[in-house]
Symmetry: C2
DNA sequence: GAGGTCGTTCAGATATACTGAACGAATTTG
DNA sequence: CAAATTCGTTCAGTATATCTGAACGACCTC
């Protein structure tokens, strides 16, 4: 919490800490925040009043809750992203045809963030909106890493960065080979009969933008059709995505949308 | 912007203003923010560094963007809400059976906030996640106001509050009567053949929690089935909702979830 | 290669955020 | 029903941390 703070910061950090505490506890009073964060009551009151005035916190009945403004700001970030716009239609049809749950992930550095969900059935693995999981822990990780290796084969491009893919053992490498040949990865969670199919979304130049997954219950129809259907959806999303980028590039070459090409 | 600020605030307000500017412009540089908000470049740099350290802003390639942390915080607020949990299953089935788009609204004071969407088809009215519209402008407004009037008839309950329903003309009153008798409202937007059916979600005691809407294309099947199907879904959601509140009330009578009973 | 723009850093001066105590109100205890 | 406690809020003073302005280095443009 009390970082060495290489840059110059201070008051805002406290306000945001309070905000996140309200999120975790979902709702708290002044003294509760003050004792938890070891701050003066009056200080907490000032910060909370500020957050209320700015619309980030509500103040009903002596309890402070985070408001829906965070959802609104984050939602517009998502809605404006070309990845979401390109995937929207396919997510709907993919979920409808497979009768499963479709998740859209956005690649951020070495993590994958879930930004959209379509479909639902009781008992399905709960993924939270905006949930950020490291690539090494999620199923989208292997498929992204495998895809990256493939593009690296084509052209050395940039530096290999900070990832331990260079020294993978043969076991993992074999798995990557399978994923690469098939185009998607399959995961069967322990304790559940659900199967999750995950494929990567990348641009024409090979940069990975995100991933698309579809989870179907174990007792659903043909097990292979979901994977094939996923590949079709991915192909269409990538097509729409590249066409969007082309139209943007020729129009206004200002700033490309989140091209963390590193 | 420079409000009279009845309370004591200051630095945090500036940081949040910068954050919202980054959201609107989707991404900006230091000088762009400084000139827009009439602040010193070094000041803006400090605030942006703070936001980056806290994870609310990313800093790739000389451009500052809002990160997905806002979506994550807002998403957890939504996922934990009993309204969303109760409506999840019904939203899916309602969207699937009507082949339309289902929106879930949360009532906040005199506004309705869209917190979840299920289904999609090209050309449908775009509602943004977290979008907050006054009750007077949206279709969910009349249905909520009509429902409130009905509950007011039953028991005077609280004070009539600040709303101009008391002096509505007969035209509006007739519309309310129709909505009350049917249970939902229908809206046909100009320039589109889509029809939106909106119904209110309320607890057993009559307090309005939110609204559920389903929008179907004009050329879809039977026009009435969507409304009937909506009523079924609402009934089930309200059932699940009240049972959730009962289990919570008997378990821990600490703080009820967002009971803006006023 | 020169001019301009942009991001970043640094030290000083000013403003302002933090502390502590006290008040009123709501809630719980006896 | 009354007393005591808890909680939220307000207020003035002090010390802190924020803001300013200029200067440096990097990047892009002409």
């Amino acid at each position: 919490m009390a970082e060495p703070s290489p840059n110059r910061v201070g008051t805002t950090e406290k306000s945001l800490t309070i905000l996140e505490l309200l999120q975790q506890e979902d709702g708290a009073g002044v003294t509760e925040v003050a004792t938890t964060l070891e701050m003066s009551k009056s200080t907490v009151h000032s910060h909370l009043s500020t957050l209320v005035d700015c619309g980030y916190v509500t103040h009903h009945d002596r309890q402070y809750h985070v408001s829906t403004k965070l959802l609104r700001l984050g939602g517009r970030l998502r809605d404006q992203s070309p990845l979401y716009q390109a995937a929207r239609i396919e997510m709907k049809s993919l979920a409808a045809e497979t009768d499963g749950v479709v998740h859209l992930f956005l690649k951020e550095e070495s993590d994958a963030t879930m930004i959209a969900q379509e479909g639902y059935y009781p008992g399905v693995r709960e993924r939270h909106l905006g949930e950020r999981t490291p690539l090494s822990e999620s199923i989208v990780g292997p498929v992204m890493l495998a895809e990256r290796e493939r593009s690296d084969d084509g052209e050395p491009d940039d530096a290999p960065e900070e990832d331990d893919v260079s020294q993978v053992d043969d076991d993992v490498r074999d798995r990557f080979d399978r994923i690469r040949r098939r185009g998607y990865a399959v995961e069967t969670r322990s304790g559940s009969s659900d199967r999750t199919f995950a494929g990567v979304l990348s641009r024409q130049d090979g940069t990975v933008m995100g991933a698309l997954t579809v989870t179907v219950p174990g007792d659903s129809g043909s097990p292979l059709s979901a994977g094939d259907r996923l590949l079709e959806a991915i192909e269409r999303v990538e097509l729409s995505l590249t066409s969007w980028y082309d139209s943007q590039a020729t129009f206004s070459p200002k700033h490309s949308w989140h091209v963390h090409s590193n």
